[in-house]
Subunit: 345 residues, 2 copies
């Protein structure tokens, strides 16, 4: 797992070099000009889909949905997609319900795009277009480099589709930012023992980084067996904040951009409740934080798009999950009860 | 909270009597024949929206999305809805981000429907159509009868929109089923002390009752301060099942219908891991369950639509949350850190 985490700058660099296939798919999407985009995915890929939803809605204004594959596989009712687009995310390309959803959508006339690390997979065979992750084999059951590659491909796709120069420029800075994020490894290693006996925690963020919170919580569950729940910071205030008592651990993402001031307010409120705040930020450390994992700011400064912050922001959380699993005596590469390809229908 | 739980059969009865306004809105939706339906909601209402999504997708085949209100309020990018429909759910009708999303959607040409308990609310003023919950004042911060009323209104709406006779017939049976579900109160009261010291749990279901799992987990968080996370049973197998060790509590819904056999398999797998299984079912008790809250079957037998099972299925979970909060010394009507109307933007 640790080796795969450290490969991430190289993976993203390779992806950026393979921009030509992304540009071709973006052209097809632009010509289709869909009324809606539906994502279908499971597990980590579902978290990447949440990122894709925010990205497309906020950049292109096209409403997006996350498919409930059960509607097709359990209830056998394929959605009428009438000229829509379906984006299917599966690292292995073998998740049966995702593949089945894509086939049903294609029969309904949807334009289908698969994002996968496996060129010979069932998913790659089922979609009109395939975008490869170029991440190399991922051996750890806990996905890390394929998740970061999924975010990057989605950002490349939307950047080309919307012809967003700021996104494109930001993308070029990602390998260096990822490299700098990896420099937080010693901090993650020193932090881990403090949470050796943590049984539960909340993970929170808002906007683009809601996906980061979901993915960080999943890594903590998979590799550390911590009951970590991710909540958008807005939803947190609508009820779940009741669980936060003195010493309750909350992992909070506060990245620069439009969500920052809201996250600072939520952090202050959590600190007031006595929460044990673990923060990941590329801004000033938050008052009341027990732990700060501080990401570098992009050298381009304020011009770095908030839309790309989820790519480096997940790295300290991956490092923390890795080191926490080690101090807890868990093998992070082979969590109990999991296999690399989960077959649900 | 307990009084409001027991009012639910009467609330649903009143709603069924007010079918005329639902039929009128259903006619407007049928004429619009939208390419997509977007739900916008927060808190418990968001869980009702998940139910609405499954219901519309599986009954009408129209793809649905849950709006990320942040896209409008943080990133100021209203989705281009081109003839779509937006359904906004807010019990108080005063959630600022929900109201703002509706206003933005209406400016984009969407047909907007508000579902609220407050006829004079900002939401009722902002939408083209309003469907009232007729639930009477809800004093407990933890929503119960308004949640059940939201599900019922959504089912009435889709039943009228799709002209689904089976749904309509099933709806008529709901007040009696809810009355029978309330008879589980003594079981919930006797069960509660066993979980007095529970700090965390998973809540799982699939298909229509995924919404039930989300709502049950929210009630446990709000009223008992238990870190309860809801997961679709399919997603559970894609990673989070790693947290389940011997004695780990899992609240599992296994209602009759297409999801049942999958839930039985998941229950067997969880029992094999030594999970402490609390089950809510209207079928045979599940082998390996530590606790069974058994709902009556509708007297119409196998004809009762699975799509309506989430209405009675939430009741035992509400009763369990109520009694658990009492044995834990919490006032379930006024959870710490919460107010009835949460104002997020």
């Amino acid at each position: 797992m640790l080796r795969e985490i450290t490969e991430q700058p190289a993976v993203v660099g390779r992806l950026l070099d393979a921009a030509r296939e992304v540009v071709a798919v973006a052209g097809a999407l632009r010509r289709r000009d869909p009324a809606a985009v539906i994502f279908t995915a499971r597990g980590s890929s579902d978290n990447a889909a949440v990122y894709g939803k925010y990205l497309i809605e906020a950049t292109l204004g096209i409403p997006c949905g996350l498919a409930a594959p059960s509607v097709v596989t359990l209830y056998e009712r394929p959605p009428r997609l009438r000229g829509g687009v379906v984006v299917a995310l599966s690292q292995s390309g073998e998740s049966p319900d995702v593949v089945e959803y894509v086939r049903a959508a294609r029969r309904q006339g949807a334009l289908t795009v698969g994002v996968t690390n496996a060129p010979a997979s069932a998913l790659a065979g089922a979609t009109h277009h395939t975008l490869l992750l170029h991440a190399g084999p991922e051996h750890s059951v806990a996905a890390t480099k394929t998740y970061v590659a999924q975010l990057t491909v989605l950002a490349m796709l939307v950047s080309a589709w919307a012809r967003e120069v700021a996104l494109e420029r930001g993308l070029m800075g990602l390998p260096a930012l990822l490299e700098q994020a990896l420099a937080l490894e010693p901090v993650a290693r020193e932090t881990a023992p403090r949470y050796r006996h943590m049984e539960e925690c909340l993970v929170t963020a808002r906007g683009y980084n809601y996906a980061t919170a979901l993915e960080a919580a999943l890594k903590l569950k998979e590799t550390c067996y911590v009951a970590a729940e991710a909540l958008s910071a807005a939803d947190l205030l609508h009820g779940p904040i009741a669980v936060v008592e003195h010493g309750f651990p909350v992992l909070l993402f506060a990245l620069r951009g439009r969500a920052l001031s809201f996250m600072q307010q939520v952090a202050a409120r959590l600190a007031g409740l006595g929460a044990e705040l673990i923060t990941i930020t590329d801004d000033e450390p938050l008052p009341g934080a027990a732990v700060t994992l501080r990401l570098p700011q992009a050298s381009s400064g304020s011009a770095f798009p908030e839309a790309l912050t989820p790519v480096p922001a997940i790295v300290p959380a991956q490092l923390l999950a890795y080191h926490l699993s080690v101090v807890r005596g868990v093998n992070p590469d082979v969590p109990r009860g999991l296999r690399k390809v989960t077959r649900t229908r």
